[in-house]
C-alpha cells in the first residue's frame, strides 16, 4: 500500500469521525430534550414519533437527494450530509429516552411525588438516572447506524470514508472499496464496544 493511500485513509477516517460525532451531538441535543417533553405531553407522542419514523424509513440515498434542492439545509457539502445524518439518528435516541423514562417503576415515581419532589427533581433525581441505561443504548444504536450511513454522505460531497467506496465502485477497484469499508467497520465496532462499556459503567442499578 502506498503511503499516499495511507495518508488518504487517515484523513478520510478523521473526516468520517467528525461527521459522525458532530451529527450525533446535534441529534442527542435535539432528541433527548424532545423526548423529555413528550413524557410530559403524551398527546404529542404519535406526531413526533411518526415524524422520526418516517425520516428513518426514507432510503438514505434518496434522503440526501431530497435535501439538495432545499435552501439553507440543502445544497452540496458537509452541512447537508450532517442534516441527513441527524434526521436518521433522531428516532432511536428519541424512542429510547421516551421508553427509558416511561418504564420507571410507577411505584417509585409515585413515592417520589408523594415525598414532595418538584417536577424538576423527579426528572433529575429519579427518572433520568433510572433511564440512563436505556438512553445510552439508544445513543449506541444511533451511533453505529450513523457510522454506516455516513459513508453515503460522499455522494453529495460530504466527504468521509464513503469517498473511497464511491471511487472504488466507479473504477471497479476492490482495494479502494476495502480502504473505505474496513476502517468504517472498525470505527463501528469500536464505537459499539466503547459505548457498551460506558453503558455498563453508568447504569446505576
Amino acid at each position: 500500500m502506498s503511503s499516499a493511500l495511507m495518508r488518504d485513509i487517515l484523513d478520510l477516517t478523521l473526516e468520517h469521525l467528525f461527521l459522525v460525532s458532530f451529527s450525533m451531538t446535534i441529534a442527542a441535543a435535539l432528541a433527548i430534550p424532545t423526548a423529555i417533553v413528550l413524557t410530559r405531553h403524551s398527546f404529542l407522542q404519535p406526531w413526533v414519533l411518526g415524524f422520526a419514523n418516517i425520516m428513518q424509513t426514507v432510503p438514505s440515498l434518496a434522503l440526501f437527494g431530497f435535501l439538495i434542492p432545499l435552501p439553507f439545509f440543502g445544497g452540496i457539502g458537509k452541512h447537508t450530509a450532517i442534516v441527513a445524518l441527524v434526521l436518521y439518528a433522531l428516532l432511536p435516541i428519541l424512542r429510547n429516552t421516551l421508553i427509558g423514562i416511561l418504564k420507571v417503576n410507577p411505584t417509585v415515581r409515585e413515592s417520589a411525588i408523594a415525598m414532595g419532589m418538584t417536577g424538576r427533581q423527579l426528572l433529575w433525581e429519579v427518572e433520568l438516572p433510572l433511564a440512563t441505561r436505556t438512553i445510552l443504548t439508544g445513543l449506541r444504536i444511533a451511533t453505529v447506524t450513523t457510522i454506516g450511513t455516513a459513508t453515503i454522505a460522499a455522494a453529495i460531497g460530504g466527504g468521509g470514508l464513503g469517498v473511497f467506496i464511491f471511487r472504488g465502485l466507479a473504477s471497479v477497484d476492490t482495494t479502494l472499496l476495502l480502504a473505505g469499508a474496513v476502517p468504517a467497520a472498525m470505527i463501528a465496532l469500536a464505537a459499539d464496544r466503547g459505548l457498551g462499556w460506558v453503558e455498563h459503567k453508568l447504569s446505576p442499578v
Partner: protein, 249 residues
Amino acid sequence: MTPLVSFRKVSARIGQKDILYDLSFDVEPGETLVLLGRSGSGKTTALKTVNSLLVPSAGDVLIEGIPTTVWDLIRLRRRIGYVIQDAGLFPHFTVAANVGLVSRLEGWQPGDIDARVQYLLNQVGLPPAQFAARYPRELSGGQRQRVGVARALAADPPLLLLDEPFGALDPVTRVQLQQQFLDLRSRLKKTALLVTHDVREALLLGTRIGVLHNGRLVFLGTRAEFLAAQDQEVRTFHTCLEEKWKETI
C-alpha cells in the same frame, strides 16, 4: 382542637369510574385511624386524596383545616410521611440516601441529615453501620419496609399515611413490624391513617376503625364498637376472625 385530617363529603373517580362516594370523617391528632376494606373498596383512593396524589371530584379534604386544593402541594407532601406496600424505595439510592431524601430536599445541612438518618435507622432496628451503605436490592422485604418507614419519618412529619404497609411480608415478619409500629407510635406520638384489608391488623393497630365498602364508609368507631357492630360488611369481617381450623382438629 382542629382535626389533622378532615374528609368533607369527598367523592373521587379514576377515569370514568366512581371510586368514592360522599366520604366524611376526621382524623384526630395522635390517633391511628385504620380504613379497612376489601380490594376495590376505595381505601387506597381515599388515602391518595390526603396527599393530593388524587384530587376529589367533589368535596374537600382538609389538612390542619386547610383544603388540599389550597395547600402548596410540595409543602403539604413534605409534611406527610407516605409508606406503601413494596416500599417504593429508590433503587439507585443507598439506604441512607433514601432515608435522608426529604431532609435533603428541605435543604438540611449534610451533618444534620446524617445524624437524622442514623437516628431513624436505629429507630426501625437497622444498625446504620451495617445497612446505611446498602442498596434496596441488597435487602429483604422486611428490611426494605423498615427503610420505607424510616424514610417516611425523615422530616418529622405530623402525619403518616400507610397503604397496606405490611401486606407483602411473610406472617412472622409482619407481626414483628406491626409490633415495631406500635412501639414507634407510642414513642414518636404520630398521627396515622392506615389502610388494610386485614381485620386482625386493623384491630391490632387501629385506635379507631373505619370500614369502606364499594366506596362508602359503612362503619366508623372504636375496636369495641367494631366488634359489636351489626352492619353486614362489618359482620363479614367478623367471620374472618373466627378460627375455623380449630373445629377441624
